[in-house]
């Protein structure tokens, strides 16, 4: 049983669990304190020495990440002494740090920059020749680039591969200021969650090869989305930007913290899945591979539906939003069509693991199941109206609503991907979430719901 006790920080009262870490309270209560090596998913390491605070009764400043909350503890984080300690230790972090900011991807989301503005503002007292030199632009594998000079040796990345993935690719070798992060020779970083170290790294030592040099982060806008790579429903930030004369583009996914689902991390496959939202898209309405006018195509679709009445199957992609699936079901019922969402195609046993990856590669499969939609394959039928399901089934005619291009002589409409609209979906654990619209295309592509509305039946 844990007990709540009262402590005082900077003259204010707070309540916290006895025996919990002081730094955890400071973070939760938004009491600004500099730190590098502590991370809520990795615990404390006590090596950066930045999180020093004054504790009444203790002669020396103590690191908050190694201080356990006790009843009546009096903490101060803003005295002149403590501020001086922060400034001094920060100066030591900076002494060998290369001033790469103009070319470093981390600029704008860099702890060192933030702390410098808050606690530092020192001028450099060391020449470039005197700084310790290491390797820059080391390809660690798994899309991660390492700059050993920028590293502050907080050991977050090495602790990640030790404690979280258990793959032990990264380690700090050498001694003293010769110490550096590296992999063993010919043993690259290689695990399904490797790119999380890029987020964990508080500075620009670990950067994503995929995102390198592509955008300055302060130009990016962010939407809160849900990854559609599998049924786990990991939360992501969708970072996008619309450059002049170009289309609104997603530049990366980052993990969004959700303690109930993915914690702090996402898998690399999910992280890079933003690419397919912008590649190989169905852009226009096609018939027999040739572009036709969308209104004309809608007319032809209505005619087909009338022609094949009572001989229609509607197939639904299990990646669509719940609202879209509901709309399709209502539409299908209104035209007396049978409804299918075959799920077998989404099963990928090799993909699933005991961390964040589910072997069900459809984000909203749970909704399909809950709505009692038939998950078997459909029999041969007259007309199939396919709302983005990946499989081809037997029918005389087809009407396809597709996000991505497909070889087809049939009538194919273009629909928006999930990042171009918003909606909800339910993950395999039954948690329902909302994914925000991120992209506003220059020429908007209609959503599933808009397409059904245009069919006007």
């Amino acid at each position: 049983m844990s007990t709540l006790v009262k402590i005082i920080v900077d003259g204010q009262d707070y309540e916290a669990e006895a025996g919990s870490l002081l730094i955890q309270l400071l973070i939760q209560e938004d009491i600004k304190i500099p730190y590098f090596c502590y991370h809520e998913s990795l615990g404390a390491d006590g090596n950066c020495r930045m999180c020093m605070v004054g504790i009444e009764g203790q002669k020396r400043p103590q690191i908050a990440c190694d201080t356990l909350i006790k009843e009546g503890m009096v903490v101060n984080t803003k005295t002149d002494t403590i501020k001086q300690v922060h400034t001094d230790i920060l100066e030591l972090e900076l002494i060998n740090h290369p001033v790469d900011c103009p070319t470093c991807d981390q600029a704008g989301e860099c702890s060192l920059q933030d702390f410098y503005m808050e606690y530092g503002l020192h001028t450099s007292k060391i020449t470039i020749e005197e700084k310790v030199k290491h390797n820059k632009a080391v390809d660690l594998g798994a899309n991660v680039m390492l700059d050993q000079e920028r590293c502050v040796l907080c050991a977050r990345c090495t602790r990640f591969t030790d404690k979280i993935t258990g793959t032990h690719e990264l380690g700090i070798v050498g001694r003293g200021d010769n110490a550096k992060v590296t992999t063993m020779p010919n043993r690259p970083l290689s695990n399904p969650y490797a790119m999380n170290v890029v987020d964990l790294c508080p500075v620009g030592a670990l950067t994503s090869k995929d995102f390198r040099f592509s955008q300055r982060v302060w130009f990016l806008e962010t939407a809160e989305g849900v990854c559609h790579g599998c049924a786990k429903g990991c939360n992501v930030y969708i970072d996008h930007n619309k450059l002049k004369y170009k289309d609104d583009t997603i530049y990366r996914f980052r993990p969004r913290r959700n303690d109930a689902i993915n914690g702090f991390f996402i898998c690399d496959t999910g992280r890079l899945s933003y690419k397919e939202l912008q590649e190989n898209r169905q852009e226009s309405t096609l018939l027999n591979g040739v572009i036709i006018d969308t209104d004309e195509a809608i007319k032809q679709a209505k005619e087909l539906i009338f022609l094949y009445k009572s001989n229609i199957s509607v197939i639904i992609d299990a990646n669509l939003y719940t609202e879209e699936i509901e709309a399709i079901v209502t539409f299908a019922k209104s035209i007396n069509a049978t409804i299918f969402s075959p799920l077998e195609v989404y099963e990928e046993k090799a993909f699933g693991d005991d961390m964040l990856k589910s072997s069900m590669r459809a984000a909203n499969a749970e909704t399909i199941k809950r709505m009692g939609i038939n998950t078997q394959r459909p029999e041969k039928i007259g007309l199939i109206i396919n709302f983005n399901h990946p499989q081809e089934f037997e029918s005389d005619k087809k009407i396809n609503f597709l996000t991505h291009s497909r070889e087809s002589a049939e009538l194919c409409f273009a629909i928006a991907v999930f990042s171009e609209s918003s909606g909800s979906l339910t993950n395999e654990d039954g948690i329902t979430q909302y994914s925000q619209k991120a992209i506003d295309k220059n020429i908007p592509i209609m959503t599933v719901i808009e397409s059904i509305q245009r069919l006007g039946l």
Partner: protein, 145 residues
């Protein structure tokens, strides 16, 4: 894995395992045994040691890079460790270091060897050569090279 411990070393390992609460304690003893077999610590040896100690290879690699006395590359010349710390420096280690530059050996500037009372000193293959003079160095190296 192409590295194998000699039978003698394997026997030592089995004996040592009984003396510690965990096989992890054997990382240093195993690294020494591997270095005595091959004159350096190869990556294959690291993998073998990882199996013996149940410590991941990267951790063994990190341990090997932490200590001054482990070689991660096969030495091409005779390794001569010369102490450069204060007591030896006060007793003329600079002169000794300079003199050794004329010899065909690999000079390592190492920190205090614990021979301050008999400075200056150098260590070759675990043996100390103390109270050094250039003449003594000539005699010593003649025998070893």
């Amino acid at each position: 894995m192409s590295f194998k411990f000699t039978q003698e070393n394997l026997n030592k390992i089995e004996e040592l395992k009984k003396r510690y609460p965990s096989p992890k304690a054997l990382s240093l003893p195993c690294l020494w045994m591997a270095q005595s077999q091959e004159e350096f610590i190869s990556l294959d040896a690291i993998d073998t040691i990882s199996e013996v100690t149940t410590i991941p290879p990267m951790e063994i690699y990190r341990v090997a890079t932490f200590y001054t006395m482990f070689q991660l590359e096969k030495p091409k010349k005779l390794q001569v460790d010369v102490c450069k710390t204060l007591s030896c420096k006060l007793c003329g280690s600079d002169k000794i270091l300079k003199y050794l530059e004329s010899k065909d050996v690999n000079i390592n500037h190492v920190e205090c060897l614990g021979s301050c009372g008999t400075a200056p000193v150098m260590q070759i293959k675990d043996k100390n050569y103390e109270n050094l003079t250039p003449q003594k160095i000539d005699t010593i190296l003649e025998e070893l090279l």
